[in-house]
């Protein structure tokens, strides 16, 4: 599903080389690394948010570096779901409209799927809520729903649990795993959060590499 080869990125005279990845449909991968290890850069490379200095990323056998900007935006909206450490939403819209916007951006409309996901994360009854009324843990659960709203092939999560307490952390990680499995999506998490290590069979430690 997702495959990388000889990826590297340069900031000024500093170059970070990344190990090759190959994750197939429905699998999970945890990437551990401390701050500055380049783990966020790796995630941005995988999501096509930055272009690599060398190497390439293929998703579903498609080299994303070869896509035009417009196509890449569309591709990202359709096939990649992001979860960030701080979940950002459109503050002026409620939960429902935020999720609808994500569908709108790729030209989809599927209220059932949205409700099913909201049900799964236990927040269906908060659909009409303004986002500032939700707790950080709840927001992160909504952002998981958003990441999955367009049935993507890949979920990229950047420090999804670092801002959360143990309880919320468990809920969020379990939901991420469960829902990406159900939706046949690859789940890649980059984090420095050691709590997650025991929850994944596969992990790569960038510090060790």
């Amino acid at each position: 599903m997702i495959l990388t080869k000889d990826l590297s990125i340069s900031y000024g005279d500093k170059t970070i080389n990344f190990p090759d990845l190959d994750v197939s449909t429905g699998n999970h991968l945890l990437i551990l690394g401390r701050s500055g290890s380049g783990k966020t850069s790796l995630l941005n490379l995988l999501g096509g948010l930055v272009t690599p200095s060398s190497g390439y990323v293929t998703i579903n056998q498609e080299n994303i570096a070869l896509l035009s900007n417009n196509k890449l935006d569309k591709f990202r909206g359709l096939h990649i779901g992001f979860v960030f450490q701080t979940p950002h939403f459109i503050k002026s819209l409620d939960v429902n409209d935020n999720l609808m916007l994500s569908q709108f951006l790729v030209g989809k409309r599927d209220q059932n799927h949205m409700d099913t996901l909201l049900e799964k994360v236990g927040l269906l009854n908060r659909k009409k809520e303004q986002l500032y009324k939700l707790s950080e843990g709840e927001k992160q659960r909504i952002s998981i729903v958003r990441a999955l709203i367009n049935k993507p092939k890949i979920i990229l999560a950047d420090e999804p649990t670092s801002a959360l307490d143990d309880h919320s952390c468990n809920i969020v990680i379990d939901l991420l795993k469960e829902l990406s499995k159900e939706n046949n999506a690859v789940l890649i998490i980059v984090t420095h959060d050691k709590r997650l290590k025991e929850k994944f069979e596969q992990f790569i430690d960038l510090d060790a590499a």
Binding site: T40, N44, G47, L49, V50, N69, N70, D73, K74, R76, G77, L78, F82, F84, Q85, T86, H88, F89, I90, K91, S92, L93, D97, M100, L101, S102, F104, L105, V106, R146, N150, D158
Partner: protein, 414 residues
């Protein structure tokens, strides 16, 4: 969805969006008000002024002569003897010759003594009820006058002395309504029309009875100083003339003005001069309003820039969710257009509402119709200008959002 997003983003910031809308709306309102006033004033003035080529009256202010006898708003300049203008009645340059005599009013509607040419040749007025006056004390009412006085055919009333409403009534001058005129949108709508003889008779009996209104006397003594000979040498307030040939314009006023007792004024020229006086005032008001418009633009720009600062994570998130830079650009421009649209709609609605309210006041005061329900292509231009402003104020923030580096923005933690 984009429209909804733009709208929600606007109402999310009620204070700064509100300020922009209020500034926009009030500037547009003032611009529009000045424009509508000028436009309607010009139209009404010209419409009425063009009916009459020349006014002949007693010496004094030409503008006053025109305002009094064509528009029926100012006081008379004095009276002239009918015999003095007799030579004009069969002058080769004169097509229409209509004497009028002012003096009384009823509930501040002027009673104009004249002959039937006034309707038939000058205003081409049509009756909707009854007949034209024939005998003394028969009157025909203009459309608005009839409505405002609440009189209909067959009713009668006592006139008041003077051309403005006063307490003094001629108890023995009882007028009978014999006809009502159709609506014309012109000054005749506000008048009470009767024969010259009626006016002459009222004032001669008045004199015999010795009943004088002091206020009236002081203000309008010119109506009375020749009353002893009123029956021998009849007086009129003015003579309204239409030319027979364009050449009359160059000779007739000169001939009349050379006479000691007479003065001629051309309504078209006097009104143009009056408008030239008013115009700079209204222009100054407009300039002030455009200045407020500038402030509105500045306020919108600030609102948009601040709002973009707050929303850069949202925008980055939208990009990560599949929005192209073009879509972000469009969504921000939509927001600018929407807020300026709301402002312009408010401004135009307010402008017309205020014009209508002012119109009611002006109509009462001058017996002169102003309306808030007259629209103009100028408003489309105003709206277009406003939308352009909204577009420009959204353009710069939109461009910076367009060029945003998503990965860098998302990396920064809030």
């Amino acid at each position: 969805m984009l429209l909804k997003l733009a709208w929600k983003n606007i109402i999310k910031r009620p204070l700064s969006s509100g300020l922009s809308v209020v500034l926009l709306a009030s500037s547009l309102m003032i611009i529009l008000l000045a424009f509508l006033t000028m436009q309607q004033l010009e139209k009404k003035f010209n419409q009425n002024a063009n009916k009459i080529d020349l006014v002949v009256g007693a010496k004094g202010s030409r503008l006053q002569l025109v305002l009094c006898n064509v528009f029926h708003v100012d006081n008379p300049t004095g009276n002239i003897k009918l015999s003095d203008v007799k030579f004009l009645s069969n002058h080769p340059f004169v097509k229409t010759y209509v004497p009028i005599s002012l003096g009384d009013n009823y509930k501040s509607h002027r009673i104009v003594g004249t002959n039937q040419d006034f309707f038939k040749k000058l205003y081409k007025a049509r009756l909707i009820q009854g007949k034209f006056f024939k005998k003394p004390y028969e009157v025909v009412l203009g459309y608005n006058a009839a409505i405002e006085m609440g009189l209909k055919q067959g009713d009668s009333f006592y006139s008041s002395h003077g051309i403005d409403a006063s307490i003094h009534e001629h108890q023995d001058a009882k007028y009978y309504v014999v006809g009502l005129l159709d609506y014309s949108g012109e000054v005749i709508d506000n008048l009470i029309l009767t024969s010259l003889e009626s006016v002459w008779q009222v004032h001669s009996t008045d004199h015999q009875k010795g009943s004088f209104d002091l206020k009236y006397e002081k203000k309008h003594d010119h109506h009375h100083h020749n009353e002893t000979i009123v029956n021998k040498d009849k007086e009129i307030t003015a003579l309204l003339i239409n030319y027979n040939s364009p050449r009359a314009k160059f000779s007739l006023p000169g001939i009349i003005n050379s006479k000691k007792q007479l003065m001629a004024a051309e309504p078209a020229i006097e009104i143009q001069q009056l408008l030239d006086l008013i115009q700079p005032g209204l222009k100054a008001v407009s300039i002030l309003a455009w200045f407020i418009f500038g402030l509105a633009f500045f306020s919108m720009l600030m609102t948009m820039i601040n709002s973009m600062k707050d929303r850069k994570y949202e925008i980055a998130m939208m990009r990560a969710s599949g929005a192209s830079p073009k879509l972000i650009l469009i969504s921000i421009l939509t927001e600018g257009l929407l807020i300026s649209f709301v402002g312009s709609v408010f401004g135009i609605v307010l402008g017309h509402t205020l014009m209508e309210i002012m119109g009611i006041y002006l109509t009462n005061h001058y017996h002169y119709q102003f309306s808030g329900f007259i629209f103009n292509s100028f408003e489309l231009w105003l709206m277009l200008a406003t939308l352009t402003t909204g577009f420009i104020s959204a353009f710069f923030p939109a461009i910076s959002a367009y060029n945003m580096d998503i990965s860098k923005t998302l990396k920064k933690k809030t």
